[in-house]
């Protein structure tokens, strides 16, 4: 009897992620949603630059590696060329909310019918722990060694709140990897995001609060705890926009 | 080869007039180029375009020493009149250019095109009147051929516009200076 199986939408390539990093869980949730909907053969994924740069090796669907921050623009090109396909981007906070802010905002403005999976772990992982646009005030990073001072380094960007103001955003939800219950909610959100795309309603984005034990300087357990006690209060979980809810009203 | 420089204010239909010459040249089986003002000339209140009509392939599409200058304002006259090729022609809208050329090595023609246009309810069509006048003393194009070439570009739905163009072209063609 099979009790646990890898989703078909994931390849057999072993993940390169650090111990305690939650990227692997999010990959799995995306793959499960693709499996459940039976859309692997019709899906095209766009990988970012950052820790998940190699995600093109992990998903079994066709994959494209985008320049840093440009995944939403690349996804726009894919979707406009093949409107019959499911298109998702998988991006980190530096990719999506710093160097790629314009691309992110404008897929919302245009209502591009794509899905963004946004990993917010408040740090640059791949380059080794520099300040991210989502780094919390006071948080120590290698480029904010005395803690992020908003007067010097500016304030964090709340992506779901920002994108929910745009007419073309159909669905925006923030979820977290800190507990089993929240992971289950994350799964429902990701599935919902693909369903919104299937219905052709516009941009769907799921922001996933994630951990980076390595660059936070914490054990995996401490990292999950910090995510709960420090990140969630600054980045409240929940649905920021859902045009299907309005329709239901 | 005939090289033509048309020049005036923006909004006088200078580029349009140039296109009519180039288009007629093309339909007559000639090599043609049309190049809008695209140099420092576009400063200082002039809009201009270069048109070349030739039996042979055209090298440079720029007209520096025109065989024909169509001048529809004073800055154009002042700037380009000295550059007209020896034996060339100056065609001036005398309602807007009060100056007269003192050159003796060119053929100078004056027509109060803007005043004529206003008198005949053809406001804004001084450019076409100038073209008509040009056809009257130059044998580059037959009048009817040119008229057909010009009107073919106007959609049939704009019959009034076709009529106005015909009237303006004829007015210039029949003008006795």
């Amino acid at each position: 009897m099979i009790v646990f199986e890898k989703p078909h939408a994931l390849t057999d390539t072993p993940f390169h992620y650090c111990p305690g990093c939650t990227h692997g869980i999010v990959h799995r949730l995306v793959a499960e949603a693709i499996d459940e909907m039976g859309i692997e053969g019709q899906t095209i994924g766009v990988a970012p630059v950052g820790c998940s740069v190699f995600s093109y090796n992990y998903f079994n669907c066709d994959m494209i590696e985008a320049p840093h921050g440009r995944a939403p623009a690349v996804a726009t090109g894919v979707k406009r060329a093949r409107p019959d396909r499911f298109v998702f981007t998988y991006q980190g906070d530096g990719d999506l909310a710093a160097i790629g802010t314009a691309e992110t905002v404008h897929v919302g403005a245009r209502g591009e019918n794509i899905t963004i999976i946004f990993i917010n772990n408040a740090i640059y992982g791949m380059t080794g722990g520099q300040m991210a646009p989502t780094t919390l005030p006071g948080q120590v990073a290698t480029t904010t060694p005395y803690g992020r001072d908003p007067k010097i380094h500016g304030n964090p960007v709340r992506v779901c709140e920002m994108l929910s103001t745009l007419s073309g955003t159909a669905y925006a939800e923030r979820v977290s990897m800190d507990s089993v219950a929240h992971i289950k909610q994350a799964k429902r959100a990701i599935r919902k995001a693909f369903e919104v795309q299937k219905a052709g309603l516009g941009l769907s984005i799921v922001e996933v609060l994630s951990t980076c034990p390595t660059n936070w300087g914490k054990t995996p357990q401490e990292a999950l705890e910090w995510l709960k006690t420090d990140m969630i209060p600054y980045y409240p979980l929940g649905v920021y926009k859902d045009v299907t809810a309005k329709e239901a009203e | 080869m005939v090289s033509i420089l048309l020049s005036g204010f923006g909004g006088q239909g200078i580029l349009f007039a140039g296109k009519q010459l180039a288009n007629a040249g093309m339909l007559a089986g000639k090599e043609v180029t049309w190049l809008p003002s695209y140099g420092p000339e576009m400063r200082g209140g002039t809009a201009n375009c270069s048109v070349i009509i030739s039996d042979d392939p055209i090298g440079s599409p720029l007209v520096n020493t025109p065989d024909l200058l169509v001048a529809m304002n004073l800055p154009s006259f002042e700037k380009f009149e000295p550059r007209i090729a020896k034996g060339g022609t100056l065609l001036c809208d005398s309602s807007l250019v009060s100056a007269k050329s003192t050159r003796t090595d060119i053929d100078c023609r004056y027509i109060p095109a803007t005043a004529l246009a206003d008198e005949h309810g053809l406001r804004g069509m001084a450019n076409v009147i100038m073209l008509g006048y040009f056809l009257s003393f130059n044998n580059l194009f037959d009048f009817d051929f040119f008229l057909d070439a010009m009107c073919a570009k106007i959609p049939a739905s704009k019959a009034a516009l076709i009529e106005a163009n015909k009237k303006a072209l004829k007015l210039g063609y029949e003008y006795k200076g």
């Binding site: 053969g41 994959m63 060329a81 093949r82 | -």
Partner: protein, 356 residues
């Protein structure tokens, strides 16, 4: 088919549609905007898309996405916009993606001006992006050639899996000449079995990618790409010779400048000076072998450009000091007159006579 009188920029748009391109991504910039505006009108009529992106950067990455699916796709800009696109172009090259990129050059550096220029030659042929890379660069010199080459550019891109650039300029873009769209013979092209267009569950997943973290793998990939560049250099060099056979002075010029140079050659011939013109049609690959052959026959070269002298470097490399290589250029949007170029030819000719 009867010819139509059209602007160079409009012809790029129309020819792209004739070549089966149904996707255009761009951002407004003078003097290329007619390309976007023409496609904005035309694309919806042929079930295509003309999308104004939020930036040049986004536009070129939309091109990357669309090209990844195997679609024919076009973008266009003018000089400053190409600088913004250069990151994306490097990724397009590194991902072996076919597409067509138009640069309607204007004066630079910086915001520069909006008048015609050829000062992006280095950028186009040397450093259109970071890394070991080239792209095919075509330099049309008439509106008809713009029409033919735009169609050919899509074929070249697909055949060699590379971006192809049409290097135009403000004058070529704004100039009207008669054109028809019958001159292009489509090539036989390979299947795009590499495209990321959905596996349909029938094959292993395709990955469109420019990242190779192992240096030995990256070196191998780059070397394979350079073998393709060798094939392009072998098969696709194009140029036009005009009165070079008996010429004492051969002018080298491309695009709009070649038109002026040709008139200057004619003027000098009338004055008894044996001048000729070699016009590179492909700037990359550059007709270097042909120039080396001409260097055996002629006594001097004169390169004429709308720049402070860029292509002249390629001419010197090809000529290898066999004979003197002179340069005449205007920049910043200024265009040399035929008389100016003819005077330069005459000057060189007189000094050669003196030496003899």
């Amino acid at each position: 088919m009867a010819k139509s009188l059209m602007k160079g920029n409009e012809v790029i748009a129309e020819a792209a549609i004739r070549a089966g391109c149904r996707l255009y991504f761009g951002y407004p910039i003078t003097p290329q905007t007619e390309i976007s505006e023409t496609l904005a009108k035309r694309m919806p009529k042929v079930d295509g898309l003309c999308l104004q992106a939020e930036s040049e950067i986004a536009a070129v990455n939309m091109v990357l996405g669309a090209a990844s699916t195997g679609a024919r796709v076009l973008t266009s800009s003018s000089s400053p916009g190409l600088s913004l696109k250069s990151e994306g172009i490097s990724y397009l090259v590194g991902s072996d993606l076919p597409c067509v990129i138009v640069n309607v050059q204007r004066g630079g550096p910086g915001l520069g001006g909006i008048q015609p220029s050829q000062a992006d030659y280095y950028q186009a042929t040397r450093a259109m992006g970071h890394g070991d890379m080239h792209l095919i660069v075509l330099a049309p010199a008439s509106v008809q050639e713009i029409g033919d080459m735009t169609q050919e550019a899509f074929d070249l891109a697909d055949q060699y899996r590379t971006p192809v650039m049409i290097l135009s300029d403000g004058a070529m873009g704004q100039m009207m000449e008669p054109v028809d769209f019958e001159g292009h013979t489509p090539r036989e092209l390979p299947e795009k079995d590499w495209a990321a267009c959905g596996t349909e569950g029938k094959r292993r997943h395709n990955i469109v990618n420019s990242l190779y973290i192992e240096p030995d793998v990256l070196e191998k990939i780059v070397k394979e790409r350079f073998e393709r560049y060798d094939a392009i250099a072998e098969n696709e060099v194009r140029y036009e010779d005009y009165l070079t056979d008996d010429a004492d002075i051969v002018l080298v010029a491309y695009g709009i400048t070649a038109r002026i140079a040709k008139s200057a050659v004619n003027a000098c011939r009338k004055a008894g000076i044996k001048a000729g013109l070699m016009r590179p049609i492909t700037l990359w690959p550059f007709p270097e072998k042909h120039l080396a052959e001409l260097a055996e026959k002629t006594r001097a070269f004169l390169t004429v450009e709308l720049s402070m002298g860029q292509m002249v470097d390629d001419v010197r490399l090809a000529v290898e000091h066999r004979v003197p290589v002179h340069f005449y250029g205007r920049t910043g949007g200024m265009m040399p007159s035929v008389d100016e170029v003819a005077a330069e030819i005459t000057k060189i000719y007189e000094s050669m006579k003196k030496e003899a």
